[in-house]
Symmetry: C2
Subunit: 326 residues, 2 copies
Amino acid sequence: MKIVIDAMGGDYAPENVIAGVVEAIKEFQVSIALVGQQDRVEAELKKHSYPRDMVEIVHAPEVVAMDDHAVASIRQKKNSSITIGMGLLKKGGYDAFVSAGNTGAVVAASTFVLGMIPGVDRPGIGCVIPSLKEFNLMIDMGANTAAKPEHLLQYAKMAKVYVQEVIGRSNPKVALLNIGEEEGKGTGLEKEAYKLLEEKEPAFIGNVEANEIYTGKADCIVCDGYVGNVALKVSEGLMESVGILMKREIMRNPIAIFGAFLLKSTLSRAKKSIDYAEYGGAPLLGVDGLVLISHGRSSPKAIKNAIRQAKREIEHNILVKIKEVL
Amino acid sequence: MKIVIDAMGGDYAPENVIAGVVEAIKEFQVSIALVGQQDRVEAELKKHSYPRDMVEIVHAPEVVAMDDHAVASIRQKKNSSITIGMGLLKKGGYDAFVSAGNTGAVVAASTFVLGMIPGVDRPGIGCVIPSLKEFNLMIDMGANTAAKPEHLLQYAKMAKVYVQEVIGRSNPKVALLNIGEEEGKGTGLEKEAYKLLEEKEPAFIGNVEANEIYTGKADCIVCDGYVGNVALKVSEGLMESVGILMKREIMRNPIAIFGAFLLKSTLSRAKKSIDYAEYGGAPLLGVDGLVLISHGRSSPKAIKNAIRQAKREIEHNILVKIKEVL
């Protein structure tokens, strides 16, 4: 097993990426191909001790910036870590690709270089989301912002396999994100997707509203990428703002500071159970290869956990299993 | 000044509605017309003491249920508290209408009975949202799930007036909710709306991503109603789930319970600063009358604050000022 890592991807690359890779090698005994600017990668690796034979460095002179235009960057920077890394996966001998880089560019490169799985029209970004019960998968979080009903059906089929194999829960239920529970709610897309899912997806349980995303009502939630992206980012922004607000209020009052001190370990345990970094990355489903997209602000721990998740995907032979249901 | 209240609207009607009305009368000295089933309204009023001459009861035999189909309920239940209440506002002598009832039905009745303001094509539900800085207005939260670029421009103009007059901040800035900051992001709607806003709205500052909704980057955020509804409900659901999760973790540990006890007043102050109930209701903008929609689960305090907000709208002559800019 060998996992390709985009050493240059993310806001804190290559530092955080390489720190996470080193941790992952030690903890999971996986071989890694680090793709990036060789001198920078080597300089960063020197800061760590690790089994040398587990790491291959593949030089990629160009870097796709976090704010580069997705498609243009892939067309123009043929020697970026994203494109070269994806080429390794395509070539064979490598099993998965992990990047904390420009999401749009990773999606574009995956589509161009790997191509789509037969029976899937558009890639979808799945997001492993915490809930009051267990982890669930929501798809799409922004790869496809003009989804058609059949795309949502394809997402549902892939999400089921993912929840079953990687998250490890049998008989996952599928729901459609909508602005009401009843059939007939939503825009044209949701109305048609409801009918299609009802007809063709036995695990379909109907609509869920956005306030049910984190209650664990459904194991797989399918939605258009625009809406999914908004839902994800609202959640992120809200948690950050509430955190800032709480700190601000707590710091005004010495008794509250002491109270917060007593709560520290409990709060960090609660935080851990909802932290994306604990799970790893967002699987890009539908392309013909295992691709995981990590958050641009990934910590070393988030990178390490994304590698663990890639390992799990490989071990469960998820690509073959997804192909079987499509 | 006389405010019409849907006595039958909401999950806890008429109890919570009437309790909130009684508080509002005492605190703000406003006259109220309570529209609903007379016997139930009278029975509920008997539980309270209040200046009798401030309350008029208007009998409405029918009730629109929270899960009734919006348009059908308005067509079929001509004598519901929503339709009769809206009729009072239309007739004159009444200044605003507040309901915690079926949102879709309130939107439909407002549109049918009051009609639109000249220059506005579709109503939009504004939501006063807390942020790290001040309160802002986001529109639309679900009245119009098939928005066109010109609708978003109209929302922007109305939102500016609202923030200026009711929230009380000069020179409000307008942003478009989108999945990226740069121009050219999003679906067809967002791309076209960006151009239109840039050309015709001097206060337009560009896109904001959903993680910026609560940071206070923009005073007015415009979006399609489908996306706005998802953003609002995700926020609601996330806060609830995190609250449940925190309680669950805290109850496992006696030290944490003590810590939480010391934090209680601070947490409730923080909660108050982000609680929708503290602000009141969601203004339905674009219809030819002042309509406020409160949350279905409104507490008496939320109803009271919605009445305060209606009073402020009336005092600032907001309907006339909105008409002037359109």
